[in-house]
């Protein structure tokens, strides 16, 4: 079956494929991954108990904590020599979340990403300008392999150096832009500074993800770059980019490639699965990954599943654009940031009080993060350079741990609100 056939299967056909794959997955994971087996035994469920798709709910959830507890490779199902690639993304405190891929996984990833590009209207004739970051982040390489699998020409520019990116777009004739929505707007600003207008470029499609963005932002991107701007969704724990994609009928959300990634929506408090149409926490089970399959991974993204037929003819269920999170994770310039990571850094510096606040805003279409830290008597210095060194040290350690450069603002003691119960650590001024 080719991918066009898969994407237009009647529900019953899709569901039988999913059930077959789910049963094989559970059997495999039960027999090869001790932590999963332990969780399943604790939940009183065995592979044979999975007889219908409804039995999915009997399986225990997986969370970021499970990944942290099994850092780095404890949840892999194959020996490391079968793993041809690892990627990492932010953890809630000091350690990142690590994911791995066999050669077959890399090939599957390239396929799902290529299908997403095709869904957006990209063809082999396109010149794909990939401004997602290349490195441990799954965005850059994930999009890259998908572009090559599709057969288009890919320019691996990665992020940064906006002026050079515009020059390349103009001189090479880039037709498709892959970038975070805020970076796309940043490129648009750079174009204006350089006196380059959309008419000078060949761009026609933009595929934007890795951070939340509103319909207003979409309009802005489309208008400023002269492109059709479409939403893509993914997360490294599931595979990377390529989990869901908007087709040009952008009214109801993104089609999930559910032959590989089985979605659920659960109540964020009770964890009961919810029917189509109801909003809750998005959960994914990977049906075909080898090295690092994941069962009922709680993404902490809030969304809803839409079953209405789509004008494009695809029967793949759609997920509504992610409207929020059930935790306090932030996305700053495409990077996942947990306030608890900032706390982790501050606690490691002698004399720094745990009273801090994070202010996030957007200046010129780029996210900025400022950490406010109270100056206690222990860290106070009578010399300017003493305090500047403190600020610099905090900034460097945050950059080392989080991968984000933030500003540090030293403030007087007791100016950061103390609160009963959960402290309001983050003030997000962005209007996303």
């Amino acid at each position: 079956m080719n991918w066009q056939e898969i994407e237009t299967l009647p529900r019953a056909g899709m569901e039988s494929i999913q059930l077959l794959r789910l049963r094989k997955l559970v059997e495999r994971v039960y027999n090869t991954v001790a932590p999963y087996r332990a969780k399943m035994e604790e939940a009183g469920v065995r592979p044979d108990d999975i007889k219908t798709l409804a039995d999915l709910r009997r399986l225990p959830f997986t969370t970021k904590d499970d990944l942290r507890d099994n850092y780095p490779f404890g949840l892999f199902t194959v020996p490391m020599e079968e793993v041809v690639r690892v990627h990492a993304s932010s953890g809630t405190t000091g350690k990142p979340t690590v994911v791995g891929y066999t050669a077959a996984d890399i090939s599957m990833w390239a396929d799902v990403m290529a299908r997403c590009l095709a869904m957006a209207g990209v063809t082999r004739k396109d010149m794909i300008h990939n401004a997602y970051g290349y490195g441990l982040f799954t965005g850059g390489l994930g999009a890259h392999y998908g572009a090559e699998r599709l057969g288009a020409t890919v320019i691996p520019v990665s992020g940064g150096n906006s002026k050079r990116q515009i020059t390349i777009m103009r001189d090479f004739g880039s037709t498709v832009l892959l970038a975070t929505p805020s970076y796309a707007l940043n490129l648009a600003d750079t174009m204006t500074d350089m006196g380059v207008s959309p008419a000078d470029l060949q761009l026609r499609i933009g595929i934007h993800g890795a951070e939340p963005w509103s319909e207003n932002m979409r309009e802005e991107v489309e208008q400023k770059l002269g492109i059709r701007a479409l939403d893509i969704y993914g997360l490294s724990e599931v595979i990377g980019p390529g989990v869901a994609m908007e087709c040009p009928h952008t009214d109801q959300g993104m089609h999930i490639l559910e032959d590989h990634f089985l979605p659920e929506i659960v109540d964020p408090d009770t964890f009961e699965p919810l029917p189509y149409g109801e909003a809750g926490e998005l959960v994914f089970t990977t049906l075909t990954k080898e090295a690092f399959p994941i069962i009922r991974y709680r993404t902490k993204d809030i969304s809803r599943l839409v079953a209405e037929p789509c004008g494009c003819g695809r029967t793949l269920v759609r997920m509504e654009k992610v409207t929020g999170r059930t935790d306090d994770m932030l996305i700053i310039r495409g990077v996942n940031v947990f306030p608890s990571q900032v706390e982790h850094v501050l606690m490691g510096i002698e004399g720094v009080e745990p009273h801090y606040q994070i202010e996030v805003s957007r200046e010129g279409n780029l996210d900025t993060m400022t950490v406010l830290v109270e100056v206690s008597e222990e860290v106070f210095s009578d010399e300017i350079k003493g305090l500047e060194q403190l600020g610099k040290r905090i900034q460097t350690e945050i950059k080392d741990l989080l991968g984000v450069t933030c500003g540090v603002k030293l403030v007087e003691p007791r100016t950061i609100q103390r609160s009963e119960g959960k402290a309001q650590r983050v003030i997000d001024r962005r209007n996303i």
């Binding site: 008597e377 106070f380 009578d382 010399e383 305090l387 600020g391 030293l410 003691p413």
Partner: protein, 143 residues
């Protein structure tokens, strides 16, 4: 030979300096010398007062971050070249001045400067050997 100086952390908000001086006034504390070092983001107010511990206590109670440091009060001839001579001694001794500021009053015929050096002991020795007069804390507070 050392004089106790109070340093106060100042966020870049209006009214902070006024509040500090108000607190000191309420507590009947007299400022002998002061200096503000500032960056774009914050400042440090350095004060020589007549009642160091009381000032520190009062400011802390009012919610400020306060530190105490030792500095040196040096008599400098009140004529052109007076300061240059003192600084020449400092330079020849290989000392670094972290910061300095001047006193409100004179000591007799001389001006008084507050210095913080990177190496306070060497500084005191070098200055005294060159015949420079260093005032004590008691002298400074009662000027």
């Amino acid at each position: 030979m050392r004089v106790e100086q109070i340093a106060v952390f100042l966020e870049n908000r209006s009214g902070r300096l006024a509040e500090i001086t108000a607190v000191l006034a309420e507590n009947n504390i007299n400022i002998r010398a002061l200096s503000v070092a500032d960056t774009a983001d914050f400042g440090i107010l350095r004060l020589i007062v007549d009642q160091v511990d009381r000032a520190k206590q009062a400011l802390k109670e009012a919610g400020f971050t306060v530190g105490k440091t030792n500095v040196i009060a040096v008599e400098v001839p009140d004529r052109p070249g007076g300061l240059a001579e003192v600084l020449k001694i400092v330079e020849q001794a290989g000392l670094n001045v972290e910061y300095m500021y001047a006193f409100v009053n004179k000591s007799g015929e001389n001006a008084v400067l507050i210095f913080r050096f990177d190496n306070m002991d060497s500084a005191i020795e070098a200055l005294q050997n060159a015949g420079v007069v260093i005032l004590t804390g008691a002298q400074v507070c009662s000027m």
